[in-house]
Symmetry: C2
Subunit: 320 residues, 2 copies
């Protein structure tokens, strides 16, 4: 298997060991929990995490202005409740902890179990569940994908502004009602811990509406040009929103060349301009990946001035 790893059993720990060298602002506690060395001494702590394989998510966003901790599970596998509890205990400075959970059964179960355990130990907690993937019709079943990074940023900003746990939860829930993502792939990911591809795609096919854990998309077509693909994704997104004030993220799935992300960006922005949309912040890069999948996702969030200010505020994360 063509993977730059030592052995599949140590994938997660080796990766976190490397991350410690790369980002000297974080430390790893309890083996798999990334926390800020420079801990907050007041305000609400923001904690997220999930399975690995989405790097730089989530540990890359453990930084002033975004997350206080990221709980890192094995590849595409939810972290266990005890690790989430450790993150809560390490970051709570008395004003409570907000958990940002992507909508997957394992994550929701384990994070909520940790919440109960933490409450029993006297910590105040709240949680929000990100469901930005509009490729799933049923709103309750929508997965959390790249838009989660914008939730990290918004919640981190609200905490810096001194809002209470309940206020942050409410504002974040409200923001997520205007958050929409959809992704596509031209190549599936190869999972290092199993040696299996997420799905199979013929040499002339693309998959629309893919998940970030090797989940197949909602439909498959012959591959098209970048402008046509962008139109397809925008058409899906604009079934859900007619807002003309948007923040936009073009997210690489992990193995998409930067040149192709630029080409996609051209057609995204030209498409939005032709629809009369105004874009107050554009993010392009690898934010929420799926190992070595080739493809991209498009995220838009409706915003007012406050949200624009929040997402444009400084953070020490090198990845935002």
């Amino acid at each position: 298997m063509k993977k730059l790893i030592k052995q599949k059993e140590s994938f997660l720990n080796d990766m976190l060991d490397g991350l410690k060298y790369r980002d000297t602002q974080i430390e790893i506690i309890e083996e798999t929990v990334a926390v800020r060395k420079n801990k907050r001494d007041k305000g609400v702590a923001i904690v997220s995490g999930g399975g690995s394989g989405h790097e730089p998510a989530h540990a890359g966003y453990v930084a002033h202005g975004m997350l206080d901790a990221a709980v890192c599970g094995e590849v595409f596998t939810s972290p266990t409740p005890d690790k989430v509890l450790a993150a809560i205990k390490a970051t709570d400075c008395g004003e409570g902890v907000l958990l940002v959970i992507k909508n997957y059964a394992g994550d929701v179960m384990n994070f909520e179990m940790a919440q109960e355990m933490a409450e029993a130990e006297g910590h105040r907690t709240a949680s929000v569940i990100v469901r930005d993937d509009i490729s799933i019709d049923n709103e309750e079943q929508r997965r959390g994908v790249a838009g989660t990074i914008l939730v990290h940023k918004f919640a981190g900003y609200l905490s810096e502004q001194g809002l209470s746990l309940e206020q942050i939860r409410e504002r974040t829930e409200e923001m997520m009602t205007g958050l929409y993502s959809i992704g596509m792939a031209v190549q599936p990911c190869l999972v290092p811990t199993t040696g299996a591809y997420g799905f199979d795609l013929a040499e002339d096919e693309m998959e629309i509406g893919i998940g970030i854990h090797g989940e197949k998309g909602i439909y498959r077509e012959k591959i098209e040009t970048a402008d046509s693909i962008v139109n397809r994704l925008q058409d899906e997104i604009f079934k859900h929103t007619d807002s003309s004030h948007l923040i936009v993220m073009v997210n690489g799935m992990g193995a998409t060349p930067d040149s192709e992300l630029n080409i996609v960006t051209k057609y995204v922005m030209e498409g939005l301009e032709s629809k009369g949309k105004s874009v107050s912040r554009l993010l392009v890069g690898n934010y929420m990946t799926s190992l070595d999948m080739q493809g991209f996702s498009l995220t838009v969030v409706e915003h007012d001035d406050y949200l624009a200010q929040a997402l444009n505020a400084p953070t020490e994360s090198k990845h935002f």
Copy 2:
């Protein structure tokens, strides 16, 4: 061909159109030359460039503290002398222009031709040729690869310090005598303009000493674990230097998952520690890519305090 492009003929222009949206600090002149909107009004201008396919190089480094302009050729193809001349004319504010050229026949010829044309028009110019790829034995024939980005940073810093054109050329030449890179690939790149792979690799093979234009490596082996591969590359590098003060870059080749770059980083840093090396700056990411090649390169530069300070100084480039 599985590429997120509209058509191969417009690859370069489409990519630069997208880049303009992504980086609002630059503008594109003469169709393919990226320059800073906020032009310098004194000091030596630093200009680089070359074929495309290495994004974010070079246009991603057009920013305060690094480059004043990047001349962008077609994929893996040198830009023409008239475009290099345009970059010189657009950036020279009377104190001269330093050209940072990667050592490829086409680039050297076209940049030096532009230099002659510029001198004839009254511009003072100087050039340095980057030859950091130690996989080539003959020093004169060594290719310029990821170490070029450190040269951009150093030259940009020297210019900000107010050094003269000749001083910057001399200091940069001196820095490059201690600059060493070597790369490897587990998957070759697929060139969007030709539809051909750079080379063919069997399912269980890796290539050591690859170039960044699909050039084959110096030898091919059965794929090994990340720690063994790192050892191989470090062994090659430490044939050339015994310095114990290093700045280190772990560079992704374009389609290498961020998780695997972290794993490589672990073994790079553990290897250096075991050799008693001190690392004053570690850079990990996609700096000088080769489209969608999977693999990485390792760059080390010997440094004194001045060079460390220069490479750690702020730049407005989001990619450094």
